[in-house]
Subunit: 340 residues, 2 copies
DNA sequence: CCTGGCACTCCAGTGACGCGAGTGCCAGTT
DNA sequence: AACTGGCACTCGCGTCACTGGAGTGCCAGG
């Protein structure tokens, strides 16, 4: 084992011990608890080097060392091995997610499950509209010139709008419009629907076009609304449990969590294809309120086609191997459920 | 002023000072800050009496007094006067709620608004399904024997289910079923729909009944699912801000908040007609995790017809007059919006 | 390049102590 | 009977000095 290798082993030991004990770890304890094969004095030298390189830091002189964000980053990238889930945990995932009845249910169960598995705050983003495709468009006459326009996506999401067309269109006309809209839109990405539908009114008799245009407007509206920007949280109580891990108050973290925009931006910036787990640590989150937290997230959906993201958030001092394993397993399972 | 009246005035002064300062309040400070017209010694006697009656307590000997739950209860019931909202606050309510586009939007804006106005945790319950009426039922053929069953309520809520009927029913049959369902269900309370629809399949030709029965099953399912039991929270960060007010950790409170069932039970047990504001203080919440919190809530909807509830939750040491005023104003305004 | 030894630093915990806010009680006054 | 001023007492809290121990950096020797 080269000295460089040993230094990294020391770093790994520091991260593991610190995550476990919450207390700065010193050279002596390290030599005792880990079979590094060298004396505390040597470890001290290694630690001094690691500190120079910015992987660890001292809270104050004559205290043990604590990993820095950079140290955690190194740990995650090169030093940790994935910790497979226990049988019980796998069973819990199946048990809980298998009998979800609809999309809302899947999302809600997933977020609770993640929070419970990792004992962190869990985040699940609703499947994005813009990436999904149209499964069906339906028009429903309500009463007195009002129509209900329903848009159903392949992810099971349903958007609806009531539109006032001023007159009661005939059943035949509705059928006509419905057929043409479906012919033009079915199977297309939502982002392309707008263009695909633009020409539809012109294919109708001139007197029927106003109705078709109103319907189209409502559809556009359904597409535009950024419902995809919805996320669901669970396990915020876990923050308080780990509250002492935060230098400042946990209220800044809670505030950041309520600003869903922040989380969405963060998730969208992480390059996490379905099945790939990404990690942001401390300052990497680029948000003041989250400077002491880390995010572990993954995309879900089909490979190469991420419909949304999910993950967990906790103190930088968190158990990365376990969190990563849980996020990966849950993301995969949710992907499978949505695909069926 | 009788001595009894003065004692209550002392209690009021204690509550007000304590809410303001967070510190046990003593007889001397009380005599200085409030024009009670008597000496500290007299106030001390009054305080001793109030303590005997259980309205106030001492954290420890030789400390000032702190209101008990019973003391707050007396304050809320008999000693406080409603504090009208400022012009700016009223304007904020109008500004924020007036251009809400749909039910989701109203609920989300409301909960944020309440949290901001009161600086507490805000809770808004979604309008209950069971109290609303059916506006429309729609059947949409999807593909390969699958139907989408859509239920639209007068509160703007839409429930949908996909049902597998095994065959592709003719458009004529669908129209027939659709018409009969709507005739039987439109305008009825959701709670009565089940009974009203039970006979519908029997009015059809025998070979068509299986399809109708499947549809009915899906509808029943839409009714049963307790989506009405959804609540939305905001302002949890305010809890942390007031964190030191909690003897124990705030995590127990956060846990209670995540158990939405607890909140729903609490809200439903409070007798709060639309426009009436109810208060639960400390142990009155009958939940261990909330023993140090108080809930101020009101129903909303039309008078005598509460469709759901909203309110705020904070430490028992909270500014009741302000919270009550805010909850009342917001509940009224939301009621008006939903009525239109 | 590793190791044991050594001097140094500094936090955290402890106990002593005085201050001040607050109380309860009592005797005197209105 | 109710209020008041006075007084002795209690007790939490902040300060301070002290100490033990864990941890470090450095150095000389293997």
């Amino acid at each position: 084992m080269s000295t460089e290798d040993r230094r990294l082993a020391v770093l790994r030991a520091i991260v593991e011990d610190y995550v476990h004990s919450r207390e700065p770890v010193g050279s002596k304890a390290l030599a005792e608890r880990h079979a590094l094969g060298v004396s505390p004095a040597t470890i001290r030298n290694d630690m001094a080097a690691l500190e120079d390189e910015g992987y660890i830091a001292q809270p104050h002189t004559s205290a043990g060392r604590v990993p820095t964000d950079k140290g955690y980053r190194m740990f995650v990238d090169r030093l940790s091995t994935v910790k497979p889930l226990s049988m019980a945990e796998r069973r819990a995932i199946h048990l809980l997610l298998d009998d979800a009845v609809d999309l809302d249910d899947v999302v809600n169960r997933t977020v609770r499950l993640l929070a419970q598995l990792t004992r962190q705050v869990a985040v699940v983003q609703y499947p994005s509209l813009t990436r999904s495709t149209v499964r069906h468009v339906e028009l429903v006459p309500l009463s007195a010139g009002r129509l209900l326009v329903v848009l159903i996506t392949n992810t099971g999401r349903v958007e609806q709008r009531v539109v006032d067309v001023g007159e009661d269109p005939s059943e035949a006309l509705l059928g006509e419009i419905r057929a043409r809209l479906n012919a033009a839109a079915c199977g297309r990405r939502l982002s392309q629907v707008s263009a695909a539908l633009a020409g539809v009114p012109e294919t109708l008799a001139p007197e029927d076009r106003p109705v078709a245009r109103s319907v189209l407007e409502a559809l556009e509206d359904s597409l535009k609304i950024d419902r995809e920007e919805r996320i669901v949280l669970a396990g915020t109580a876990n923050l308080a449990r780990a509250g002492i891990d935060f230098q400042g108050s946990i209220s800044t973290v809670l505030e950041a969590l309520e600003e869903q925009v922040v989380l969405l931006k963060l998730l969208s910036e992480m390059s996490i294809d379905a099945g790939i787990v990404g990690v942001r640590i401390g300052h990497e989150t680029a948000h003041a309120g989250l400077s002491e937290t880390a995010v572990v997230a993954s995309g879900y959906g089909s490979p190469g086609e991420v419909v949304a993201r999910l993950g967990v958030l906790g103190p930088t001092r968190m158990d990365y191997p376990t969190s990563i394993a849980a996020v990966r397993a849950v993301a995969r399972y949710v992907s499978r459920i949505l695909a069926s």
